[in-house]
Symmetry: C2
Subunit: 370 residues, 2 copies
């Protein structure tokens, strides 16, 4: 009999890049390089710095599929006219506890951080606030935005429509849904904050691409082909679909997240979603939404944070299944990376650094400082 959980357990472990094969880069050097590249493509210094800081934070916390690795693609899209480098981001719907932000097809990082900042302000007054976006774009890892309210003693819940459809409805084959992620940021006291960031599919599509790049096969359960058979060769990914978590449940979650993050704000969902890997010109009309909950409205924040600390301690102290070294909390591994990479530098693959050097030459900007 297969140890079902064991396969999944291994999947949940972080794959720390080996220091031997990686090039270490300081956070500020990475941020400054990204900002130079964006400014060279027409973003204002203020906008370029804001996007660069968020992209470098993605790498800092180990969300390396959503960090600087996306820079060449973003630049390609900007140069093709698919992104507005000088957007007028504005509120188009507004009540005490909600707003809709129209991103004017600007960089998603700018649009979403604008939305989160507004939601934090509104939640401070109303107790809770929902701010959604339309005409936004890919904004990097969901966790970046879900964790922003934490510094204000607030909870963040984040939903987004993914930028390419790889998921059919349950039992179907038409790829009408994306990996639509859910993220949550929860304040804690002395323990690291809890940050969940998950695609509603078993594997995010970026992980499939990474497997192909490394010449590895995928575990059964990530994808199926058009006969319903497990698909394990990532080079054949075009012949199949991602599987949702929990079968029909993950399909339902991906659908609800898409309705909340997309349809509700008048953003793309279903057939309207633009595959931004293949089409660099058509505005994506990406939608995201953040719910911010102010702990202060519910009582003394210290009480909540103390309860979270106790729960974290109880979960971590749980007796473990055979072969399990420790029980992790969501976001604990990212938290450890933030601390480690801030000290030692962020590990980048040599092939990525070569790509960035080529980009620097192309853009005629100073190369990444190693």
């Amino acid at each position: 009999m297969t140890q079902l959980w064991a396969v999944q357990y291994v999947m949940s472990q972080a794959s720390l890049p080996s220091a031997n094969t990686s090039i270490l880069v300081q956070f500020d050097a990475l941020k400054d390089f990204i900002a130079r590249a964006l400014q060279a493509n027409g973003l204002s210094p203020e906008h370029a710095n804001k996007v660069a800081s968020l992209m470098a934070q993605a790498d800092l916390q180990g969300s390396d599929g959503h960090g600087v690795i996306r820079l060449p693609q973003y630049v390609k899209r900007i140069r093709a006219g698919g992104i507005n480098v000088n957007p007028h981001i504005k509120v188009v719907q507004d009540k005490a506890a909600m707003a809709v932000v129209d991103g004017d097809n600007g960089m998603g990082h700018l649009v979403v951080s604008h939305a989160v900042e507004l939601a934090i302000k509104k939640a401070a007054d109303a107790g809770v606030a929902w701010v959604g976006t339309r005409n936004s774009n890919h904004a990097g890892p969901a966790s970046l935005y879900a964790r922003m309210p934490i510094a204000h003693d607030m909870i963040g819940l984040y939903f987004a429509v993914g930028n390419a459809n790889h998921l059919p409805p349950w039992g179907g084959m038409d790829m009408l849904l994306s990996t639509n992620p859910i993220a949550a940021g929860i304040p804690a006291g002395s323990e690291p904050v809890i940050v969940l960031d998950m695609a509603t599919t078993v594997a995010a599509y970026g992980k499939v691409k990474a497997k192909a790049k490394r010449g590895e096969t995928m575990p059964e359960g990530w994808m199926i082909d058009r006969q319903g058979r497990p698909l394990t060769d990532p080079n054949r990914a075009d012949e199949g679909f991602l599987l949702p978590i929990g079968g029909h449940k993950g399909y339902g979650l991906a659908l609800i997240v898409g309705l909340l993050a997309g349809t509700l704000q008048g953003a793309s969902m279903g057939k309207e979603v633009v595959d931004f890997n293949k089409d660099h010109v058509t505005p994506t009309n990406t939608g995201q939404a953040i719910l911010v909950i102010d702990l202060k409205a519910f009582g003394e924040p210290g009480f909540f944070k103390g309860a979270v600390d106790q729960l974290v301690k109880d979960l971590r102290a749980s007796e473990r299944l055979p072969g399990v070294e420790r029980v992790w909390l969501p976001g604990e591994q990212s938290h450890a990376k933030r601390l480690a990479y801030a000290q030692q530098g962020i590990p980048l693959a040599p092939v990525l650094v070569a790509d960035l050097n080529a980009l620097a030459t192309e853009l005629n900007i100073a190369a990444l400082t190693i």
Copy 2:
């Protein structure tokens, strides 16, 4: 190779009770019987009718694990002093877009419907509102509450802490988490409304108990034993744990749902959760939370509902995997049951009807009208 999705597909199909082996009962007859039983145990006519209507609605939509089947257990708890039959349900925290409702250990159905009604009122003003509960109790299927806002052109998102811990943290063995469900109710135009109601575990614990009752084995993937091996004998359920959907992802979801529905409102979570199957006396301090989003704040509700209709049509029209008869939307099967059972009657298992007749005798009330 196993057709992974096929196993899960079968799990997602409704098990319609066979008409041959079931006794058909009219909705009003069922509701009136439940109300009689609750009144005989000290609930006011108003409270008894409200709880009875919600419990009978659970059976009407096929959520039969959460309907009248729970009546004997509720009565047992009331008689043991574990439920306050005359609760003073009151708001203890309040801002424009949020409230915390203290249920005074009343029946959960009363506490949660109070919370949802308040959230609907607040959302009409603020656009969005969050109302959570503490000192509440088991309230039946999550979907009942998530769908309440729909009639007001509002979206409902519902979270609850389950009433017994059967889920350890990922890689662990201490059962510190429950099946903490998520439910969502989404308005539609001419299509049936979308209603998702899912435990964050692969199978809800009630389904394990049902398998044991029917002498069936569980599919691999529902539970594991303390060695991490698949557990398929439901009579050995005490020797293992439920598995979360998507492995570590479902663990993360169950944790976040518990923090939002429980900890945030000062309700039980983690070690504090009382197993209401084993302990009929200790107040459970159950927590639930509803988020209500008013479509009218986002624009013309007809626009949203039209987009939902189109999406539903696209999903339903998807090309299907071999052997799949149709693609379902979340809540579509429950919707069909609501219509069918309202006409033909609600099918109850003969053994359940016998239990209810015994209860009628014990309480000296008129039996269920068949």
